[in-house]
């Protein structure tokens, strides 16, 4: 291709030079540095407005005619050829009398002499100069970043380099999960390479997409075989004379035959800067695109306008229009900055975003999720106007939203239905019932079960259905995820008129969803939802990242459903479970080391005493759970306090956890003259088995050595009362606001049986109770018979439950104090960000 182009080069120049001589100095000379989209758009506009006004010379650094740079991704993916993305051929330049000098970067500007000089030494005078040098890929300055095999994604040469590498197969690592990086990754994957994208941020395209949409995009790319590593920071590019791997800061090393660096672009302002033009992040221009030198203009990605730089095509075109108007002698045109929108050019992945979707004071979110179709839409409104939009999976209304957004249109009238798209309910915009009535019979209402409007209306009229539950039963509409239940209720209202009264709603988990705890939990297990983002999407959450009520609950449900697989979401835990201590009213913490079965010894007590002295701990108190509580510990001191307690062999007592707290015991047969069994020993065994578990709410156990019940075992979540013939197991009790005495579950003969029943009971509670529901209200809700049926009457199920409990325990019995005191886990939690003043 180079050959072909350079053979065209010579004659074109000669022709224009001859023309220049014959035309004389009457025409002003416009020199354009940069043969890209912004510069040429300006020239095109100028030719349309004032043909022949300027004598135009264009310098291009690439040895190519003007092409559509944003279509390089389809060229990489093999969906287009280079010729198809050429915007203006060399014939066009000739026909318009433009001197085109390609493969010839401009090296300097002589502002006094008003000339530019190119790399080859060519000096060209100008009356007006336009700088449109675009941008350069930002290469992160890590060791190895200049190795051969590390490429940017900016021009055709980069695409050729990628295609050459892809032809050999092998592995590609793309650094940067933004627009460009993902398009490169997709292209390389389509070309048959194994592709890994590494991205510094937690979700892909975080500047264009909110985390929900970013997560959906990640799933789709993973489905296409692209590996995505988020939160991954590049430490080094490894290789001797060609790249061989990328090493991350966490130590992982990813083998690579090529590395594509697509972390961002930097305005290419070197020429302007060297010439002494005022520069910030780019070459500074005013609203007429003039630089600090009135004869010199700049447009496109190389400029900074009102403090902003742009990297998308639409703003460049808007700038070009203003500048062309000005150059053509017009007045009054001004560039006021751009509202931008983004679309990802990966075939089959529909992503759109525009405006400001970060939310904020006075804004409201309208979120629509259609789990069955993989659709996520979010509109951000403020004061009756559309502020931002993020669309995933269905972007056909992107242009409509974008125009509403740019125009600042008042959308109050469409507010209730606009999320469904343009024209939805246009018969009577704003009335959702009218919108439903206007739908054709073939419109699909329930995406999960494929039920259309006609079928539902027919069932309602022919079978005389009057409630949502009846429609569910007869048509299966809204019987799966329930996402369409609101629509079905409206259909009932529309079809029955006054004959319909909405059923009382079951209480949803929180304001983020209309689903109940039980529905969400069932979906997590049945549909294999393994991350919080999966739940938000599948269960059609109406907020982008949940709230302080649903997030801890979901975190628990996922942890319970997928032991060893689900990664605990730290930011979805209450502070006590993050800090592994109990926050007090003054912001200090209390620390409770575990005392197994309430037993302690001189060494432990001495260590506690030393800690109290060393850290000036103001209050030391014995708890009701037979341990010692240290109050008033400063948060910064927690790891050091734990280190000292760990050194004496003590671990966290989890006094802060929705988990196993204590196993209270009496001394039993070892000392007590009434004791019937070794209640203390059994208590220690129970505590060793159950510590560290996460449960819906706190769990307290106790073992009393005889029916005198000194350990108060019958007001515990599970209490063991020893008797001559064995052990009574009591469940579902608690002290507190509503004291509830336990119900007797079963009598057993051996310690082994006690342990098995305990594991099974814990697991049944873990799997069935709602988050923050203690065993007492859970038991009252499901009934003792239900628990007996699972544990007593069905030994196989009991054993299976116990096995699941013990399996989950293999992932939870690490002392969180030791991890933080010795291994530095979550160090940020305990350190100040900074101390100033």
């Amino acid at each position: 291709m180079d050959m072909h182009l350079s053979s065209n080069n010579g004659p074109a120049v000669e022709l224009n030079e001859a023309e220049l001589l014959s035309a004389g100095p009457a025409r002003e000379r416009l020199v354009v540095v940069g043969n890209g989209m912004a510069g040429m758009k300006t020239v095109e506009e100028l030719l349309a407005k004032a043909p022949g006004r300027f004598d135009i010379t264009v310098f291009g650094a690439e040895p190519l005619p003007n092409y559509n740079r944003i279509m390089l991704s389809p060229v990489l993916a093999g969906e287009k050829t280079f010729d198809q993305i050429v915007l203006n051929s060399r014939e066009w330049y000739d026909a318009n009398g433009i001197t085109l000098l390609t493969g010839e970067p401009v090296e300097g500007i002589d502002r006094e002499g008003k000339t530019v000089v190119s790399q080859s030494g060519r000096v060209v005078p100008y009356d007006r100069l336009l700088i449109a040098t675009g941008s350069m890929p930002f290469i992160i300055p890590v060791p190895g970043s200049t190795l051969p095999g590390v490429i940017g994604f900016r021009d055709l040469a980069d695409v050729d380099a990628m295609l050459a590498a892809a032809a050999k197969g092998g592995r590609a690592v793309v650094i940067g999960g933004g627009l460009l990086g993902l398009e490169a990754a997709n292209g390389l994957r389509v070309k048959g390479m194994d592709v890994t994208v590494i991205h510094l941020m937690p979700t892909l395209m975080e500047r264009q997409l909110d985390p929900s949409a970013g997560m959906l995009l990640q799933r789709e790319l993973e489905r296409r075989g692209i590996e995505v590593l988020t939160g991954a920071d590049t430490a080094e590019i490894v290789g001797e004379d060609w790249v061989s791997a990328v090493r991350l800061k966490d130590g992982r090393e990813l083998p690579a035959d090529i590395v594509v660096m697509a972390v961002g672009i930097r305005p290419n302002m070197a020429l302007g800067k060297a010439a002494g033009l005022e520069c910030g992040r780019g070459i500074r221009v005013d609203d007429q695109m003039r630089t600090s030198d009135p004869s010199i203009y700049a447009v496109g990605e190389c400029v900074e306008h009102r403090g902003l730089t742009y990297g998308l095509v639409a703003p460049l075109f808007e700038m070009a229009k203003v500048l062309a108007h000005d150059l053509a002698g017009g007045e009054g045109a001004a560039y006021a900055g751009s509202v931008t929108s983004t679309k990802l050019k990966v075939t089959g992945v529909d992503v759109f975003s525009a405006g400001d979707f970060s939310g904020g004071e006075g804004t409201e979110d309208i979120v629509f999720r259609d789990a069955a179709r993989g659709v996520y839409k979010r509109l951000v409104l403020k004061d009756g106007k559309l502020l931002g939009a993020v669309l995933y999976g269905d972007t056909k209304d992107g242009a409509w939203y974008f125009s509403l957004l740019k125009d600042g249109a008042d959308v109050s009238a469409e507010r209730d239905t606009m999320i469904f798209g343009q024209g939805f309910g246009s018969a009577d915009a704003g009335d959702p019932n009218a919108a439903i009535a206007a739908l054709p019979d073939s419109a699909e209402i329930c995406g999960c079960n494929g039920v259309c409007k006609g079928a539902i209306v027919k069932a309602i009229t022919e079978k005389g259905l009057t409630s949502l539950d009846e429609v569910k039963a007869h048509t299966k509409a809204s019987a799966s995820c329930g996402g369409c239940s609101g629509t079905v209720e409206r259909l009932l209202a529309v079809t029955l008129g006054d004959g319909f009264t909405a059923a009382p709603k079951v209480k949803p988990m929180c304001k983020c969803t209309h689903h109940t705890h039980d529905e969400v939990r069932a979906a997590i297990v049945d549909r294999g939802l393994k991350t919080m983002a999966d739940v938000f999407q599948a269960m059609e959450w109406t907020t982008p990242d949940g709230c302080a009520s649903c997030r801890p609950a979901l975190n628990y449900y996922l942890l319970c459903a997928w032991p060893g697989e689900y990664r605990d979401d730290y930011q979805s835990r209450f502070i006590n479970e993050r800090a592994h201590a109990n926050i007090q009213k003054d912001g200090t913490y209390s620390v409770v080391p575990r005392m197994w079965g309430g037993l302690t010894n001189a060494a432990e007590l001495r260590a506690i005493a030393d800690v109290v002295d060393k850290f000036n701990i103001p209050t030391v108190k014995v708890t009701g759970g037979q341990r010692i509580d240290l109050f008033g510990v400063k948060k910064e001191d927690l790891p050091a306090v734990w280190a000292d307690l760990n050194a004496a062999g003590m671990v966290s007592g989890h006094a802060y956890a929705k988990g196993l707290r204590t196993v209270k015991t009496c001394v039993g047969s070892e000392w007590c003259r009434f004791g019937t069994q070794d209640s203390t020993g059994l208590g220690v065994k129970l505590e060793r088995m159950t510590w560290g578990t996460w449960t819906p709410h706190k769990v307290k156990l106790a073992v009393s050595g005889c029916p005198r019940n000194c350990a108060e075992a019958t007001i515990k979540d599970l209490g063991v009362v020893c008797i001559d013939s064995g052990y009574e197991l009591h469940v579902g009790g608690n002290g507190g606001l509503h004291v509830r005495a336990c119900d007797l579950l079963v009598r057993v003969a051996t310690e082994e049986e006690v342990l098995e029943y305990t594991g099974a009971f814990m697991q049944l509670y873990r799997e069935e109770a709602r988050y923050l529901e203690r065993t007492a209200p859970w038991l009252e809700r499901v009934g003792l018979d239900h628990i007996k049926a699972a544990l007593v009457e069905d030994p196989e199920r009991r054993r299976a439950l116990n096995a699941r409990f013990l399996f989950s325990q293999t992932f939870s019995q690490d002392d969180p104090w030791a991890e933080r005191a010795a291994k530095g886990v979550d160090r940020h939690e305990f350190n100040l960000l900074a101390e100033v003043g």
Partner: protein, 125 residues
């Protein structure tokens, strides 16, 4: 309204990467602790680290959207303004934040902490 225009003094406090996403870190100042929050959208906000209700440390709360829930009694506070979300009423002080690249700075001089309200930063009285 203040008439004297004085240059805003920005104090560097660290990198945005030092604050967990949907989390918070504390900056200690002579006027008390300031909590810096980072949202899922990578915005950073700074509030006085004290809930208007009973001065609970907001830095220890759960961040969701552009709000934080206080760890003591579950008041919900707007990160951008320090205002309690209805039905609760009250406001905690907030501090202007500037993020340049990854670097985070706060303008302590422009902050008006809870007792006196915040004038300069947002026009509140």
């Amino acid at each position: 309204m203040e008439t004297a225009i004085s240059e805003t003094v920005w104090t560097q406090v660290g990198s945005i990467d030092d604050i967990p996403v949907l989390g918070s870190r504390v900056v200690r100042t002579p006027d008390g602790d300031i909590a810096l929050f980072r949202t899922a959208a990578d915005e950073v906000f700074a509030l006085e680290d004290a809930c208007p209700h009973k001065q609970g440390p907001l830095s220890q709360g759960i961040v969701h959207g552009r709000r934080v829930t206080c760890p003591l009694h579950n008041w919900v506070i707007e990160l951008a303004t320090g205002e309690a979300v209805a039905p609760d009423e009250g406001r905690t002080g907030h501090v202007p934040v500037r993020v340049e690249g990854r670097s985070v700075a706060i303008a302590l001089g422009e902050a008006k902490l809870s007792r006196s309200g915040c004038r300069k930063a947002c026009g509140h009285v």
